[in-house]
Symmetry: C2
Subunit: 555 residues, 2 copies
Amino acid sequence: MYSTMQDVPLLVSRILRHGSTIHGKSVVTTWTGDGPPDRRTYAEIGERSARLAHALRDALGVRPEDRVGTLMWNNGEHLEAYLAIPSMGAVLHTLNLRLPPKQLAWVINHAEDRVILVNGTLLPLLAPLLPALTTVEHVVVVGPGDTSALEGCRPEVHEYEALLVDRPGTYAWPELDERTPAALCYTSGTTGDPKGVAYSHRSIYLHCLQVNTAEAMGLTDADTCLPVVPMFHVNAWGLPHAAFMTGINLLMPDRFLQPAPLAEMIETERPTYAAAVPTIWQGLLLELAEKPRDISCLKSVTIGGSACPPSLMKDFEEKHDVRVVHAWGMTETSPLGTVAHPPAGLDPEAAWPYRITQGRFPCSVEARLVGPDGTEQPWDGTSAGELEVRGNWIAGAYYGGPGAEAVRPEDKFAPDGWLRTGDVGTITPDGYLSLTDRAKDVIKSGGEWISSVELENRLMAHPDVLEAAVVAVPDERWGERPLATVVLREGSTTGFAELREFLAGQVAKWQLPERWSVITEVPKTSVGKFDKKVLRARYAEGGLQVTDVTAPTAD
Amino acid sequence: MYSTMQDVPLLVSRILRHGSTIHGKSVVTTWTGDGPPDRRTYAEIGERSARLAHALRDALGVRPEDRVGTLMWNNGEHLEAYLAIPSMGAVLHTLNLRLPPKQLAWVINHAEDRVILVNGTLLPLLAPLLPALTTVEHVVVVGPGDTSALEGCRPEVHEYEALLVDRPGTYAWPELDERTPAALCYTSGTTGDPKGVAYSHRSIYLHCLQVNTAEAMGLTDADTCLPVVPMFHVNAWGLPHAAFMTGINLLMPDRFLQPAPLAEMIETERPTYAAAVPTIWQGLLLELAEKPRDISCLKSVTIGGSACPPSLMKDFEEKHDVRVVHAWGMTETSPLGTVAHPPAGLDPEAAWPYRITQGRFPCSVEARLVGPDGTEQPWDGTSAGELEVRGNWIAGAYYGGPGAEAVRPEDKFAPDGWLRTGDVGTITPDGYLSLTDRAKDVIKSGGEWISSVELENRLMAHPDVLEAAVVAVPDERWGERPLATVVLREGSTTGFAELREFLAGQVAKWQLPERWSVITEVPKTSVGKFDKKVLRARYAEGGLQVTDVTAPTAD
């Protein structure tokens, strides 16, 4: 017995061909600040993608599977690179312009990028790195910018439009194997070197189909999508490719990510949908409170990237009538992992607890929770475990570099290939995920887990506590125990025994910290998150004055 | 360079697992006529599917790739078979109960079905065939029915519920190759033997994702879907599997497909979406005109299977405020080929011409028109050609039978593997397909095509013409020329010259028929379509009185 179906590979070139023909009239609009927006139809994008592919192959010698880096904002040219580079069989390497310069250079060298497309406005970032780049042969400058810093640099410098002119507007896109790598994105891991995730044509295509289902984003060519989330950050959550698959119009913010220009482009260009991390929405809310603008065009927005404060979601809905949908994902998950649409038929009040979860998994993402003892935890809404996922657009390894094997660190991948997300949480019987901690921040005490985030949130609810960070410290009997570090309000006389008593009514007795320390400020990372590894190191070096309030008991 | 993504096969068992856990509370309701409807949650369906798989494997000896036939209506048990049989690695063979008995037996023998699941109410259809069935070892009777006709028959007879009882409620679904055959469906071709299309797990999974996109059906678990289209007809347009993928509730009509029970179940169970062929909707409209019922629950319905009269679409929308969406497909296309959502932003009047087309192709269905000279035709909305399609859920061959190679008749498949649909039409620049003729009914005259359907429709617009059928007849100079056969109103004195003059203002001169014949009635097939092969045969045998009105000229 055999199937009689055609065997057609899932390729980015099919998305390109479809979007530029059937949806040829759809438009990508790039915001330019003071000037008139730049508009291109999908038909034009298709033609220019073909020109770009010819330029890369014929003028710059790009061969199949060569990496082409992009150091670019969200704009029409970046969309052309998104479509042309994978379609011609090369690999689109999106460069995170927020990485520290040293990491950025490391990433370019590790991927062995041969060409870098760079927005002219980002040359001040790239130029100083050039002497450290070992493989880059060509730099293509996209849009205006001061190129004087490139004078005398080793890579050959080209101008994007000059490179495209006079090239054919069609290209014989090769019929690749669908497992060919299409795009490369490095995580901005806080520990160690960045790690590369190499998406395949297959994973991108399937992810696009999922993004376009009604249970996920459900956009059509009647929509205009504003991806504020950068195209160098997990492919702008898959939206550019998904847009080309169904003709959703795109509004690209380029480098204008500040609240004021965002408010202005929304009022002027009237997108129906937008996607960004919480801080962007927080800033927009404040801007609108100060200078009201009409954002009634927005039907819904997706918030992801980090947990969204419920107050922010409520503000958006109550003040601006914009539906806010919470979602979760990571570089390793392409990123669509969960989307928090509530179950059907609930009134707004009853739906709320579901909407502030990370959401539900689609069919193509399988999930399991692995508890402190290494066993799978039930989906009962209370049993916590580290989230592990499996699926068609989930990484099963990291890119080891040219000539090297894929890397599968055991803290990142289970022996059977599932991705260890490093996130700890619970899942309800109907599949709603709630994340509470990063696995590395959970305190493993006597075979049980204690959530540091829960203790912190409860401590910070005390009127005299300004900030609180709870970290795991070694304990002879229990393996690990929580150390509570608190920043007290000036003049507060609240003692540790009182804080411990305050917690006692709210969490199990065995979870109560016995080690306490007052600090002047919680150390933070560059993006403002609690930097717990600094606290742990300070404790280990004896740099904290610790009071032992009481020893834990076995009951 | 390599991709680092997990390699997870696209399998029906993943849909089964997902639907029965994350959407475990969704419900399939089967209408039972007078009795209370039968309701099962997706969690129960999942458990019963596991029991069914155990029964098939352990009690009936079903092995991987064995064919299990289903002669069943749309109901909960059929859904269990849809999920269990492919998931265990066997092949679901849906049997078209409308086939002539001889063809039905031929199909069962050709597929070598080892087991047949049959609704008790369909035993009168199956029992007389049993002596002719060469491979069937087991008959499993589902639901009540008179089993006396099975007494003494060769295959072993089982009762479905008795077979399932006491079996485990979980099953270790095998990790199959995604190109493994999952389901088999034979076309009810009007010429020659039926032809088998073997869908793969991959094709079904991808088709489900597409059905659930907002640009196609866009259903979610907030919807209840009524598939009136039978599960023995191209997998009920993919809706059962698609429903399990996103938790859409199902309302199954079982054998109650008459207008009155359909109206009653819609009013009682309140589906939000339904899918059926035009005749079903026509009947429902008449029923509602006679006995009004509340069908306001329906948000949209899909009409496909054959071209839908615009008047029917308008009636539905104006009288019942139900959005009617036209779609096109065939057994060989799984069937989603096109969906006729109009371009965004048009007012209802401007949208109408798009909505009565067959619709637009999704990304995964590539299309081309091949003209009379074998060359590809432009998408200009006027150049006609035979529609050829390519894609992940499009057949590339027919099932040749056990041990036999796949069959690729050249009138059905192009040398490069594209499916020749046998439909002739045009495509607009933005991808809207309009089908006008079956390829076999087009008249190939001097390297040009003449649409028989267009000539018929124009002739039937003449007040004295009751019916008109135009067929191709051999012509020495032009290859083929049109023969117009007309049924005239009683007492009419209209002559052929006058009819020809009537046409002359409406079609090109070279398309005007010169051969004319009056007949008493156009011969029709069992489903009421014009049976043109009878007319062609009658002409060939000299059985028609033909008048030559004028010879065609070259201008």
